[in-house]
């Protein structure tokens, strides 16, 4: 398989703090696989992800949407629980 264009992962707040970086790349695929890949990056991130929600190219997704594809060259935003106001 030729090297598919990677997914651009944008990490925010506690997710960035856990990963130690704000941007990462990872192979495209179903959301579940992509998250497993991210979890492998750092134990702290593995701990935060279960509480996160996501944007796949701007469209909201949740951990339970494990089959939703994260396309090559797509953007995945990792959003810890909101804490506004």
């Amino acid at each position: 398989m030729t090297h598919a264009q990677p997914v651009e992962v944008h990490l925010f707040a506690a997710a960035r703090a856990a990963a130690g970086v704000e941007r990462m790349q990872c192979p495209p695929g179903p959301l579940g696989n992509v998250l497993n890949h991210l979890a492998g990056h750092a134990p702290a991130l593995a701990e935060v992800l279960p509480r996160c929600s996501y944007l796949i190219d701007g469209i909201a997704a949740r951990n339970s949407d494990s089959e939703i594809p994260v396309p090559p060259g797509g953007r995945l935003d990792v959003l810890p629980p909101f804490a506004g106001g």
Partner: protein, 143 residues
């Protein structure tokens, strides 16, 4: 809805918010009631003293503020609405979120104001980072 509710302001800012100004934004000769909410930075959280507090916002935060304001406006018979969330470093006692609603009678203003605060807190992609005087820090809702 008897009248179109006007969103006088829906914004995410970094400068200090003056509650009185937000209230003035929604004032209207036809509105007999103005209800406002200010979410202020507290000096304590779960027993620890807060030294500094910073809010971080996702790039879509402003668009979502407008989206939520319109949704809430559509489900209440009110005259005008304004909602401003502040991000970046905020000092103790300053406002992080200010909402103001005006309506002919108070019942709708109270209901819409509470609804808007609840919905903003639920939907707005912002995060609160607290550093405590003992040097520890915490991302709220995420410890």
């Amino acid at each position: 809805m008897t009248r179109m509710t006007v969103i006088r302001r829906a914004d995410v800012v970094t400068d200090p918010i003056v509650v009185g100004d937000v209230e003035t934004l929604v004032a209207d000769p036809s509105a007999g009631a103005v209800v406002s909410f200010s979410g202020d930075v507290r000096d304590h959280d779960h027993g620890r003293t807060v030294a500094t507090l910073t809010y971080e916002a996702h790039p879509t935060a402003t668009a979502i503020t407008t989206e939520v304001a319109n949704e809430v406006a559509a489900r209440h018979d009110v005259v005008a609405i304004a909602v401003i969330h502040r991000v970046g470093p905020i000092s103790i006692g300053e406002s992080a979120l200010v909402v103001a609603v005006s309506s002919a009678h108070r019942k709708e203003a109270f209901a819409a104001c509470a609804d808007l605060v609840d919905t903003i807190k639920e939907r707005l992609p912002v995060w609160k980072h607290q550093v405590f005087t003992d040097g520890t820090d915490e991302w709220v809702n995420c410890a």
